[in-house]
Each structure stands twice: as structure tokens, then as C-alpha cells.
């Protein structure tokens, strides 16, 4: 058949061409090593005594709009901006993995000349070009909850250190299962930056001697979708009948896992912990499915992002480590390494304290 011969010939030609090109060398990861450490816009001078500007517009761009977690967080931002006499707006994609959508929202905000953008990045690299473009146009850029590469924003408002979160979740679960047995992790999307960082610290924590009888058998992904997370929980328990505990470092996942276990024969036998909101988890804590879980206050995270955005836009800070800024009732914060601002240690919720939180 002439057609297959012709295809084979063209395939061979292309392959030969590629090999020839390899021989010639070219631009490789090592040769380019484009470590442009020119941290964007940080050279701008900051005046800690500059007045706080009013009438600014700060846009929140969460990973996903209408996600309860981000709704709480962004409402915290709205509260802070109202208190500061500035205006708030929220835009974003309805899918948590639509990175091109997030890029076009950053571009739109650049066009609309908002004063600051607070963004929770779906991908550490994808937003870089757009965010640098925004900074070039004089817009202050803050990331919150999920960071970009450090040179693509001025500040990262971190919910708690990734290390704290990862290690404490393992500590919580290990205590609940008596430092013995098989455990699994139910994460969100396989590409979620923050989830993967936490899981990295969880694995590191598990290497310590006190966890020698605790075995991580699987990391499952529920894509922050209630139904998928529910099915993944079911799958985990069928695959590992001796499972003693599940860590779900995502609010959607922990709720789905608790929901499945509460209605199954595993209730009381399999522990669930991770990151959840008190309102989501209250029923499961009260009926004994869940002993304890943790989270930072997402509303305060949004507030801090708003205060930081306004401080940047007012010229009080520029994003260099060591600078400090005031964040209303939250107190005074110092910018740490790589422009990171830490909200604080996570709060652990259990039967004793859960009723004093409402979010």
C-alpha cells in the first residue's frame, strides 16, 4: 500500500531530522538555566509612614468562584476593604483547573486598571506572564492560599506554613489511631500546588521513629468534587480493609470522607482528619465520626490579603522581607523570606471548641 509506505517514510524522515538536531545540540534545560532572579517590582521604595489610600479597587481572583472556602475567604477581604474605605470585587472561573481562564481574568483586570489583585493561583507558572504584565502596569499583586513563583507577585499571604500544616495533620491522625496501622491521603487535584507541598511534609513527618508502625498506603485524588471524593473514599476502604485512618487536606474531601464513613460500617473504626470548616464538619464531630481536624480561619486569610494589598498600593510596603504592615484587628505582620506573610498556626477543632466557630 503506497499510503502506508509514504507515512512510514515521512515518520522516518522526521525521526532522522530530530536525531540530527539532537546531534547539533540546542537549547536544553541546562544550557539555558534561565534563572532570572530579577524579582519584579521589588526595587520600588516603600514608605512605612505613607497614608493608607482610600477609594482603591482590589480584585479577588480565587481558584474557583462559588467554592464555599473561597467565598468565606473573599468575604473576609471584602470586610477589610470596606473598613479601609476601598472597594472590593471578585472575579474568577467556575472550574478549579481552568488555568487559561485565570490568565484571561488577570489580563482583564490589568485592562480595567484595578489597584491591586489578590489571586489564588491554580498553577505556579501559568499566571506569571500575565501577573508580571499587571505589575508593569502599576498594579499591586498579592497571592493568597496558593502561590505562584516568587518573582511573579509581590507578596504571598500564607494560611500557615506548609510545613506546620503537613506535620500537624499527621500528628493529629497518629494520635487518633494510637500510632499504629495503615493510613491513606485523600487529596484534591493531582496538580494542586499547596496540597502537594503539604503531602510532601506529611511523608517527611512519617519518616520519624514514632510513626514506624504507621504506613501510608495510598494518595487518592478526589478533584475537590464531592461525588468523586466520596467514591474515592469508598474505593480506599474496599482496597485496604485494614485502613485505620484517612487524612484529607481539603475541605471538600474531608467532608465527603466523613459523610461516607458516617453512613458505613467503618464508623468509629476508621478515623478521618485533615482540613475542614467547622460548619461542614460539626455534625460529624458531634456524632463521633471525626475526633479532631484543623484549619486556619479562611476569613482572616482574606482579610490579611486585603490589608496587604492596600498597604502595597499605598506604598507602605514593597514586598521586601523585614518590612512590617498593620492589618486592623489582626495585628502587625512582618514580611518573611521570599515575600511570604504567615497568618499563623492552624486551629484544631474538636467536640470541646467547635461550637465557638461559625464559618
Amino acid at each position: 500500500m503506497p499510503i502506508s509506505q509514504r507515512i512510514a517514510a515521512s515518520v522516518a524522515a522526521t525521526a532522522a531530522l530530530s536525531i540530527a538536531l539532537t546531534a547539533c545540540g540546542g537549547t536544553t534545560k541546562n544550557s539555558s538555566s534561565s534563572s532570572d532572579s530579577s524579582s519584579a517590582a521589588t526595587s520600588a521604595s516603600a514608605d512605612p509612614n505613607a497614608p493608607t489610600k482610600k477609594g482603591l479597587t482590589v480584585a479577588f481572583l480565587p481558584k474557583q468562584v462559588n467554592n464555599p472556602y473561597f467565598t468565606i475567604s473573599d468575604n473576609g477581604g471584602k470586610k477589610a476593604l470596606t473598613a479601609l474605605g476601598s472597594s472590593y470585587k471578585e472575579v474568577g472561573t467556575s472550574s478549579g483547573t481552568d488555568t487559561s481562564g485565570q490568565v484571561s481574568y488577570v489580563n482583564t483586570l490589568t485592562q480595567q486598571q484595578v489597584n491591586a489583585i489578590a489571586v489564588s493561583a491554580q498553577d505556579p507558572g501559568a499566571l506569571c506572564t500575565a501577573l508580571k504584565q499587571a505589575m508593569k502596569n502599576g498594579i499591586s499583586v498579592v497571592t493568597y492560599d496558593s502561590d505562584t513563583n516568587a518573582d511573579c507577585r509581590q507578596l504571598f499571604i500564607s494560611q500557615a506554613s506548609a510545613e506546620d500544616l503537613g506535620r500537624t495533620e499527621v500528628q493529629l491522625l497518629a494520635k487518633q489511631i494510637g500510632y499504629k496501622g495503615e493510613i491513606a491521603i485523600l487529596s484534591a487535584a493531582q496538580t494542586a500546588t499547596n496540597q502537594n507541598t503539604w503531602i510532601g511534609f506529611m511523608k517527611d513527618e512519617l519518616k520519624k521513629a514514632e510513626y514506624k508502625n504507621v504506613k501510608l498506603v495510598k494518595v487518592a485524588y478526589g478533584n475537590d468534587d464531592a461525588q468523586t471524593s466520596f467514591q474515592q473514599t469508598q474505593g480506599l476502604l474496599q482496597q485496604y480493609p485494614n485502613l485505620k485512618g484517612i487524612i484529607s487536606p481539603t475541605t471538600v474531601g474531608i467532608k465527603a470522607a466523613a459523610q461516607y464513613i458516617a453512613g458505613s460500617k467503618y464508623k468509629g473504626k476508621v478515623q478521618v482528619t485533615g482540613l475542614g470548616t467547622p460548619n461542614d464538619m460539626r455534625a460529624y464531630v458531634k456524632n463521633g465520626t471525626v475526633t479532631a481536624f484543623e484549619l486556619w480561619d479562611p476569613s482572616k486569610l482574606g482579610e490579611l490579603a486585603a490589608y496587604a494589598s492596600v498597604a502595597l498600593a499605598s506604598g507602605q510596603i514593597s514586598g521586601t522581607s523585614g518590612q512590617t504592615f498593620k492589618a486592623g484587628d489582626l495585628g502587625t505582620f512582618t514580611i518573611g523570606d521570599k515575600g511570604t506573610v504567615l497568618l499563623g498556626k492552624p486551629t484544631v477543632f474538636n467536640k470541646a471548641n467547635i461550637d465557638s466557630f461559625d464559618f
Binding site: 537549547t27 536544553t28 534545560k29 534561565s34 488555568t99 487559561s100 481562564g101 481574568y105 487535584a189 493531582q190
Partner: protein, 339 residues
Amino acid sequence: MADLKHLDVRNYVRWDTVVGALLIALLVGSFSFVDNFGNALNLSFLIGNTLPIALIALPMTMLVVSGEIDLSVGSTAGLSGAVMGALWNGGMAIETIIPLCLLLGLVCGLVNGLLVTKLGLPSLAVTIGTLAAYRGIAQIVLGANSVTDFPEQYLDFGAGRIGDTFIPKAAVLWVILLVIAGVVLHATPVGRSLFATGASEEAARFAGIRVKRLKLVTFAVTGLMASLTGIFWALHYASARYDNATGLELSVVAAVLLGGIDFDGGKGTIGGAVAGVFLLGALQNVMSLVNVSAQSQIVVTGVLLVISVLGPRVARQIATARARRRTAATAAPANTAPA
């Protein structure tokens, strides 16, 4: 008398010209009334965001004209991006990686084409299958990683624009491909064969067109273009991930249908497809600028699509009805007194 018929306006009102006119109207209206629309930066954003769809729309138009469809293009693009990232991490030169990825896309397209032509399976079913399969392979290849550190000059090609104009650098490449696609579809025997195949495969075969070979090549070219889109996507967004370009196939099919390419095959123009692509792209850009929420944007796009599938059909029915009336009127005197 007969010559006057050519001057009848209705002969010139075709669906794709309607879409083109709508696009021009939208652009003119936005230049006049939407703040921040008309500047070079925004126009470059508009074109840059639309380019992936515009790239795949070219071969997709040909496929749909020939009566087939490829829903795996978004996954092929994602797979190319993932392989590109993995090889880059492995230390291979980008000048080698790009042709290899294009080759991979060609193979993906060939697999689709062979399944359709050799096994005689419907392309809708085959490519829904490979949509999942190619995405799965992408996930195996790159896992949860995202690769962002591609060389500066390539990233600049993917995202930069020519000087301070509104034209993205990559758009030049697209214009060249557009001209090629336009010529092939509308001015060569290959194009005529595609239309003939889409109109009636049986008749085309009797007319001596090698239908299977034609389809196989079209699928292969579609795969090749999908991988080109995947490479562009990874460079444009400076991020190679396994889930790049998820859902791209739907945007492309939507735009092609809006451009008046008949889903049953046999009808359509490259110009219509391009107008459809940019009408959707511009509409999305304008809606974002005037703060229409993401959810409402989806509704608007959906409604437009339903109209675009219905519109040409209704127009055709009206035209046939009118033609029938006309023939009836002229024929009537001839067959008088049938009783």
C-alpha cells in the same frame, strides 16, 4: 430578466457571512462603547487567548466538512505539552523536543484515523475513547508536575507580541496556516473531495475519490495541528501540565458550528470557521471587560450555539420552501388539467 436573479440580496446572505457581519458589528460596537477594549494590549490578549482554538479550528473544519469529527484534540494537545515538559526536564534540547512532539501528534491522529477507516467505527465514538486515553497517558508521563522553565525566546514567541502592536508573534504562524488551509479546502481537488465525501460518501467513492485515504490523512493532519496547539499552549501559558487544554475540543466544535460548518458534513467555509472562532473569542473578552460573571458567559455561549445549529437549518428550510413555491408557480401552467 434571468440575469437579475443574481442581484437578489438573498443569494448573498449565507450563514457564514452573517457570522462575519456579527463579528464586525461586535468589534465596531466594542471599540466605541467598551472601555479598555480598543487598546493594543487588550487586542493582543484577545487574539492570544483565541489562538489555540483558531489553530485547531483549521483542520477541524476539514474533518467536519468530510463528515467526521475529532474530539481528542484537547487531549492530544495536553499529551504533547506533557511530553514536551517531561523531555525538557530530562535535559533534551527544545529544538529536538518540538519536532518529536509534532510527530507524536501525527501518530495520535493516525491512530484515530486508522480506527475510523480500517475498523469502520464512527469517529465520534473513537475520539471520545482516545480523548480519555491520550489524557491518561499525559498524566502518566508528567504526573502532577508542571514545567515552567522553558527558554526565554520560546516563551516570548508563545506570549509576546510584535513590538507595541496588537499582533501576537505566534499569530503570524497562524495566518500562514490559515492561508494554506483556505487554499487546500477551497481551491484544490483535495478540498473538493472533502466536500464530496461529506455530502455523500457513497457517491464520492463511485466518483473515484479514495475516501478512506483522504480521511486518514485528514485525521493525521488534525493530530499534528493539535500537538502544535499543545506546544503553543505550554509556551503561551508558560506551563506544561497534563491537564493543559482540557475542554478545548468543545470550544473548537462550538466555534466551527457557529461558523456555519454543517455537522452532517458537506457544507462550510474556512472563513466561516474563523469568523465563528473570533466571534466567540471577542464575545468572551467583551463580557469579561464589562464584568459578566463566568456562569453567565457560559449561558450566553450555550444559547449562541443552539442558535447556530438551528439558524442554518431554518434558513435552509425557508429557502427550500421558497424554491418549491417558485418551481410550483412556473410548472403550474405546463401541467394544466391533470384531472
